[in-house]
Symmetry: C2
Subunit: 343 residues, 2 copies
């Protein structure tokens, strides 16, 4: 069983559930033999969806869950109240050791709450950060934290830097990744109270490759691998990325369609443009992990299509193979022992 990665997949979460989620599960097992998917959701609906596909039947099992948590529901209430929801049932599979990982395109709030309450934190981790990859001109950077726990403390940010470095090195394969802290200027004395307090702690941290402050302007150019920030700021960065990108591409398309001449040009430009812009698409790399939990919890974009779901599932295999949680545990506990010694 040890070389099989068991993924509990929330079949009912996200804008395109259950059809695209189920399709993503099928694609994943068609591609890899070493995955077992535990698909949580309404049994009858899922059976019907699955009946459309040809795939190795033993690699997908349905686990019935009658309830669905909607995106607009208050997360804590939803996790507590809907015990038979696809999210709660799937997370319990991770908690009980029946699954190694959890993947969902559903309510971010519910996943963050459930991750902490049901799956539980690794001992010593103060706050589990949500860490999506953002596209850059050089590839991708890890933006940590974009979760729902705002108003972080400096010690949280230091843990984010460590966990993010482990993830970038082990999963993305970036050796000795650089770490930057989001700031409003390059100098050490700049910033808000949180950044000013955190900066020297990161500078003194022996197990990360700290590169100092990073201004938001530089993020898309990809000069820093792990971008550390408090969740409110991370959320603003993640969503503005999407907003500016979307609005600008709309403008570009409108410009191309504005004259007869430009329309002809657009036909000629289109294939090359599409290929280049594909690089600037982080969905190729799967979903965002919620790091520091006892099992792997991955949040994929709410609008995920099957490709992103499939990538997120396959990402879990690497996560397990690379023993990320063991590495995080060691890194966090090492620091705490040092702190105890120096007290």
């Amino acid at each position: 069983m040890s070389d099989i990665t068991r993924v509990a997949l929330d079949a009912m979460g996200g804008d395109n559930a259950p059809s695209e989620i189920v399709k993503g599960a099928v694609e994943a097992v068609q591609r890899r033999k070493d995955i077992l998917i535990l698909l949580t959701g309404q049994e009858e609906v899922l059976k019907k969806e699955l009946s459309q596909y040809t795939y190795p039947k033993e690699q997908i099992r349905i686990v019935n869950a009658t309830e669905v948590i909607e995106t607009a529901e208050p997360p804590v209430k939803a996790i507590r109240g809907k015990k038979d929801s696809s999210i709660v049932v799937a997370m319990k599979l991770v908690k009980d050791g029946e699954a190694d990982a959890f993947v969902s395109a559903g309510s971010t709030g519910a996943i963050l709450v459930g991750g902490q309450v049901l799956v539980g934190r690794i001992k010593g981790v103060e706050r589990p950060p949500l860490a999506p990859l953002v596209p850059t001109l050089k590839g991708v950077s890890l933006l940590i934290d974009c979760g729902a726990n705002v108003d972080a403390r400096p010690s949280h940010l230091v843990q984010f830097a460590k966990m993010g470095s482990i993830y970038m090195e082990s999963i993305i394969g970036k050796k000795n990744p650089t770490v930057g802290i989001v700031n409003i200027g390059a100098e050490e004395e700049k910033g808000n109270a949180l950044v000013k307090e955190t900066f020297p702690l990161l500078k003194a941290c022996p197990d990360i490759n700290f590169a100092g402050s990073v201004e938001a302007r530089e993020i898309p150019y990809g000069n820093v691998d792990v971008i550390v920030c408090e969740a409110f700021v991370g959320n603003v960065i993640l969503k503005l990325y999407e907003g500016v990108g979307g609005a600008l591409m709309k403008k570009v398309k409108k410009g191309m369609m504005s004259t007869l001449r430009s329309k002809i040009g657009a036909l000629l430009v289109k294939p090359a443009l599409k290929a280049t812009l594909k690089d600037f698409d982080a969905s190729e790399h799967g979903g965002a992990p919620l790091l520091g939990l006892k099992g792997l919890v991955v949040k994929t974009h709410g609008s995920s299509a099957s490709k992103e779901v499939c990538n997120s599932i396959i990402q879990c295999v690497t996560f397990k193979e690379q023993k990320i949680n063991e590495k995080i545990k060691a890194s966090i506990q090492e620091t705490q022992e040092e702190e105890r010694e120096s007290e």
Copy 2:
């Protein structure tokens, strides 16, 4: 004298100083009769620059200032130490009532410090915000605050909302502008401590058109006119706008140049694309005002060319005509009287 707007222009600040600054001054007086420019900087240098142009001589006067504040200098030290710098000399002209407005492409930090220390705040204004316009699919929105004073209080944000509304209505001509607060979700209970405290205050504020939370994703679509946030977040938004826009356009250009076919297409697409993207360029609207000061202080982009300098100068005329400062004064003092009455 009352229908002439007198602008103290820092001729030595910015990447393209003094040549583009002087050129911008010349363009402004060539376009409008009702402007007097007091050009501060090294007299000999400026005389030489001006000698290249034909323009109404009586509309530009040189005020000698021998020192220059560099961008990297610590702002407080620079303002205190360099009494004969182009920034300090120009700001003193505003303070002494010899100029109505100050325009500079120089060090943002020095301008923010100088604005508060030399020009001085309008009575009752707790903190003067820097409020640039950001381009959107519908035109522009005012992003307030992007200054250097981070860790704001709820009462500051309420004043930003009021001052921003006055600016958008009077200068940009947007009737009854909508106000949104940057947040990580649409619901009132979401957000960090600052946003949660500020939200009900904005909701209860009678003289603004509050539209609730705005997620960063929505900003580029222009559904809200005045975007209120704390300076750290505002700075991140402003700079990421620039970063994502720049990186994405680089990608688009690279894509267009990648094959022979796409190169031909690019030639056909270029003029139309350029015209459309011009709309997505906030420099058309001049610089960012530092609101709530006794005179007008305008910061133009460090890389400003003459066009942006000229637009920033002309913006000062509208600012004076529209009596923005009187309106801000009335709005802030009215609230304070109400507060006193209710105590």
